[in-house]
């Protein structure tokens, strides 16, 4: 039974996403294109990038994460305040893409729990907006579906 309060909270959180753009590589260019006036992500209330994990709700991991960058990603994820979500932007974050070598983390879900995967190298802005809508749907019915607000980080990975 969805209480009116849960619904209201879900609605409020859904349309006020403060995103932390953890930009590393080529997907950053597509992130810029999505955030700017042509494909405008501000229409969905997610237009304000916050560069400090304290003020951010959603961690947009954009671009390849190398093994040297992995501890930084984990630390920033853990320093974010609940409720927090993680979006894997681009195939390098979903599965490591075609950089299957000694330097690349093959998929950031081995480090931080991920909510939405946006494949594509780089994903077209329309894919990104679609991923954002799926994230908003997840945020909306977050409380009533009994999901925990943020997926528990796996104990064996937290540093």
């Amino acid at each position: 039974m969805t209480s009116r309060l849960d619904e209201a909270i879900g609605w409020a959180r859904k349309f006020s996403i403060f995103q932390y753009p953890f930009v590393t590589a080529c997907c950053g260019m597509e992130y810029m294109a999505t955030a700017c006036s042509h494909y405008d992500v501000d229409r969905f209330g997610a237009g304000l990038p916050r560069f400090s994990p304290r003020q951010a709700d959603v961690l947009f991991v954009v671009g390849t994460i190398s093994h040297k960058m992995a501890p930084v990603l984990l630390r920033i994820y853990e320093q974010m305040a609940e409720p927090k979500w993680v979006v894997a932007f681009g195939v390098c974050t979903c599965t490591g893409g075609f950089y299957d070598n000694y330097a690349t983390v093959m998929g950031i879900d081995t480090i931080v729990p991920v909510d939405i995967y946006i494949p594509g190298c780089p994903p077209r802005p329309e894919y990104v907006l679609d991923g954002l809508l799926k994230l908003q749907a997840k945020i909306q019915n977050q409380r009533e579906t009994g999901e925990r607000s943020a997926p528990e980080p796996r104990p064996e990975f937290s540093v």
Binding site: I9, S52, P53, R54, V72, L73, R75, I76, E78, Q79, A81, E82, P83, S149, A150, S158, V159
Partner: protein, 117 residues
């Protein structure tokens, strides 16, 4: 006494709105404190921390100048509200006050207190 009622209502309203948000956030927001979360955020790496008490003198200089001219500004507000009733006297009084501070400002400017080097 009644004209102060307006300000009272204003302050009460402000307090309830601000307090309400803080209260709601603390009640509804989940709280999961963790060791890493309490450490200062310095761009993703453990921070060096700021050695207490050894800041450069130039910060102090800039701060003092700011306070000085900020307080001067505070005196202008009440004057601006009633300057029409004060007529000529009010204007001369305030311009003397501002003149003295301007002299101080130019002295500071000339001595290079404003540029950082």
């Amino acid at each position: 006494m009644t004209e102060y009622l307006g300000i009272l209502v204003f302050f009460a309203l402000a307090a309830t709105v601000a307090g309400g948000f803080v209260l709601l956030a603390s009640i509804l927001g989940p709280k999961k404190p963790s060791k890493v979360k309490s450490e200062p955020f310095e761009t993703g790496v453990p921070s060096f921390g700021i050695q207490a008490g050894h800041l450069s003198i130039k910060f102090y200089l800039t701060a003092i100048l700011f306070i000085l001219f900020d307080v001067e500004l505070v005196f202008l507000y009440p004057w601006a509200v009633v300057f029409r009733e004060l007529g000529g006297w009010g204007l001369t009084g305030m311009s003397i006050f501002l003149g003295i501070l301007m002299v101080g400002f130019f002295y500071a400017w000339d001595n290079g207190a404003l540029d950082w080097k």
